[in-house]
């Protein structure tokens, strides 16, 4: 057996363990009876440890070192070795004590975050968050960085991400989006009252499934279930599942999560099953992943043309609720812009200010300019400054997100990166496949998926984000495409 073949065997085995762990998670979020929690947490812990042990096993390192010195001739294979070497390097930087300390600190922070949020009392959380912050600062030192300590962290979520790049990106948000937002604020608000009525659970569910099928999601290799927070999860490319949640009091909940998670899932379903467990069978990073969900959700699913085609069908299902509502009314309502407190409910435009605020705070944390205790006031000041809103309670403010309690500092920017890539890729796709025909979206949806499969999905991690973007669009990430898209969309909606 060649060294490369043995390397693929070892990675496939690690993937088996990781996907089994993923199923333990999926079940926990969907069907597990409540008394199963304690043992399930333990089972997940054991399997995670096993996967880690297999990853840092000397046999794998020796194989990879050898193959790095004498690379396989095939480009894809050489690239796999290079990426695994990089992954192993990061994984082996931390000694067992540091890993365990981090694991304990984040478990405690997560628990106290939940308690603090429930009690609306940041002080319950602060000392545990501070411990996490201390460890993340230490982690940046261990990983090392050239420019900014934040680089060492965000790189884990979005390879090659740096503060230099992010600053440029968010300067664009401030310079270009702020005036657009101000212009919108000066206009009369759109009417979205018809969105908040009774919408039957099963009818919404069936419509969500129908839209997933419209998108090309393959139910022979996936399924949708209910969970309290929507997510996408996969156990290989042949079993990629989504979840959603349904509120009967509003239409502004389930469908967008179906389309969003459906976009993530189409990416995973498009990765090559033959490269199971290998970098070439895995997603590039969180930014590109998010670009897929947002492209489908926002650029397609919240477009006027799509609903000029699909709204008649929706009205068949909910004739009373949408009586007298036009596709244009529906389009405006689903894109209503309104500065608000909660990131996950934010519109496409103000969303990036929510991210900008978190990014600035995270950067200041890593520069040791802010500590846990300073976060509520920093948070509230920035919400006032960027969004003009007063934060009435920490539960609706600095305590709203789970991420920091998990130690995920450097994660938030990938949401904005994803949006910006989505518009950039979408523009490139439309150059080739043309625009959506409001009389029949089906050919467009089919062509779009083929385009994404051919240009993005099939490659796995063979190209980094920048390289991928350059191959497809001729340039690295450029927020201009998002600005153009936003300008056009909100021009129609608000006449700005």
């Amino acid at each position: 057996m060649s060294d490369y073949t043995r390397y693929t065997e070892l990675l496939s085995e690690i993937a088996d363990i990781s996907y089994a762990t993923a199923l333990l998670h999926w079940d926990l979020e969907t069907y597990m009876p409540k008394n199963g929690h304690a043992r399930r947490a333990q089972q997940i812990g054991t399997l995670s440890k096993l996967a880690h042990e297999k990853l840092v096993d000397p046999e794998l390192k020796k194989l990879v070192d050898g193959l790095l010195a004498d690379p396989p001739k095939e480009k894809k294979e050489a690239r796999n070795i290079e990426l695994t070497a990089r992954d192993l390097k990061r994984k082996t930087l931390f000694d067992a004590k540091f890993v365990e300390e981090t694991s304990r600190a984040t478990s405690e922070a997560f628990y106290h975050w939940q308690e603090a949020k429930k009690a609306n009392d940041f002080s319950i959380y602060a000392p545990y968050l501070q411990k996490v912050i201390d460890l993340k600062r230490k982690e940046a030192g261990i990983v090392g960085f050239e420019g900014h300590p934040y680089d060492a962290l965000c790189d884990e979520y979005e390879p090659d991400c740096t503060v230099a790049k992010l600053d440029r990106l968010f300067d664009g948000v401030k310079n270009d989006l702020k005036p657009l937002l101000d212009a919108i604020k000066a206009k009369p608000q759109v009417n979205d009252s018809f969105m908040d009525q009774y919408f039957n659970h099963d009818k919404q569910w069936d419509f969500g499934i129908e839209v997933l099928k419209d998108m090309g999601y393959d139910f022979d290799g996936g399924r949708q279930d209910l969970s309290s927070h929507p997510f996408t999860i996969n156990f290989g490319a042949k079993d990629v599942r989504v979840t959603t949640r349904v509120s009967e009091e509003t239409f502004n909940e389930m469908l967008w999560s179906c389309i969003h998670e459906g976009g993530h899932a189409l990416y995973e379903q498009g990765l090559p099953d033959s490269d199971y467990g290998l970098p070439s069978g895995s997603a590039v990073g969180l930014g590109i992943h998010e670009s897929q969900s947002r492209l489908w959700e926002n650029n397609v699913g919240r477009s006027l043309a799509f609903w000029e085609w699909k709204f008649a069908r929706l009205k068949e299902i909910f004739p009373t609720q949408f009586e007298g509502v036009s596709a244009m009314d529906f389009f405006k309502a689903m894109n209503k812009v309104e500065p608000s407190l909660i990131r996950v409910n934010a519109d496409e435009l103000t969303y990036h200010f929510h991210i900008l605020i978190r990014y600035e705070i995270e950067k200041a944390i890593m520069e040791e300019k802010l500590n846990a205790a300073d976060l509520p006031s920093a948070w509230n000041a920035k919400y006032k400054e960027y969004l003009g809103v007063d934060v009435p309670s920490d539960s609706q403010g600095v305590l709203q997100d789970i991420h920091w309690s998990h130690g995920s500092i450097g994660y938030f920017p990938t949401y904005s990166i994803g949006s910006f890539y989505a518009s950039q890729f979408h523009a490139a796709a439309e150059k080739q496949i043309g625009a959506l025909d409001p009389n029949d979206a089906r050919p467009y949806l089919k062509n779009l998926l083929v385009w994404l499969r051919e240009n993005i999905h099939q490659y796995g991690r063979q190209y980094g984000s920048d390289e991928l973007s350059e191959r497809i669009t001729g340039e690295p990430l450029n927020a201009k495409y998002f600005m153009d898209y936003a300008q056009k969309k909100y021009g129609v909606i608000y006449g700005v």
Copy 2:
């Protein structure tokens, strides 16, 4: 950390992996999309291998050997060590080559069994079954035995099971059940035509859930789902799940599987969660496990008194279907005795002849008196002899069961053992808790579960089957209790 504590840690870790594997199976049978099959089989293979590696890890063997030489003072702990030593001994008897050969042979036999059954052509299966038979004969030699080579195999499913014991048991079947069966055959048949009508899926489902609740099955620590073959599976004692299947064309399908699997599940839910992964937290063997399912299904769920209480409720749900049907009519119909071809559809009485036939064939296989090619004619002759039925095709005959393709020779007798224990335990329980009150079964059902928990469930594997039976009933397995029960039940139904 004491050696015993370390031992419990290692066993808990093995249990984590085994339960994760069990979840992979559960999902495969319930919700997995069809394209997930290939990778799922691989994931199950990897996790099974990992669990095996952990079990035969020298650290565990060293610990157990040490603790065996210098046992813990607590009786339960000493017994755990003793049982684990026995488990390890069996697991370490086989070298990797033999394990792999068996695994390959059974995979191939299973595949060809499916093909042969579909095509009704035993010859497709025969050479692969012969390979399995050869390996099982070899296995018996490796394991070793004092009396009969079959002892080495059946002991895996029912500890301390031997041909000497089984022969005695099945002589009873022949001597006592045969005359009863002949007497019944001479009587007019009961009417069960009302069982085969349209019964709405959801109404059956809800009734099944209701009966599971009547039995005391805890839905906070379990759930019921649909699958093509009903089964019970658990991931610790706090998450014990059952599945069932529903036919809308007959009432003779779902409910009995609910109660049967519910009985298995009550056992698993009653095992001590604090002994997770340890022998004292595990079921004794297949015979005792089956005793729990059959006690609930047959001794309780197919009793006249239970339905004198519950039938009014069932008639509320299906008033047209059961119009003019009395609890007695229903009781007779559900217990109709009729020699037939298919084991899983057999009544309680003829069922044991199905098992006897398989037992005699398996014994002859191990004595090298029968080989794969001889099985169809041996099968058909015995069905004629014991049940008086002509087997029209191998698909409905020797190909009906999956067990031999899996290499499970020695498994079938545990079904009869389970039935016999069920009657023996049930008689002992009723001595203490009294009989079921047809006006209100609830106190009885509650007391019965408490009795089973106190006398059987809480001990896990602390007592072997014989010892357990002696503690509870004053004697080891004795089929007389089943004969008495059968005589009484069929006396009422057939006047024999």
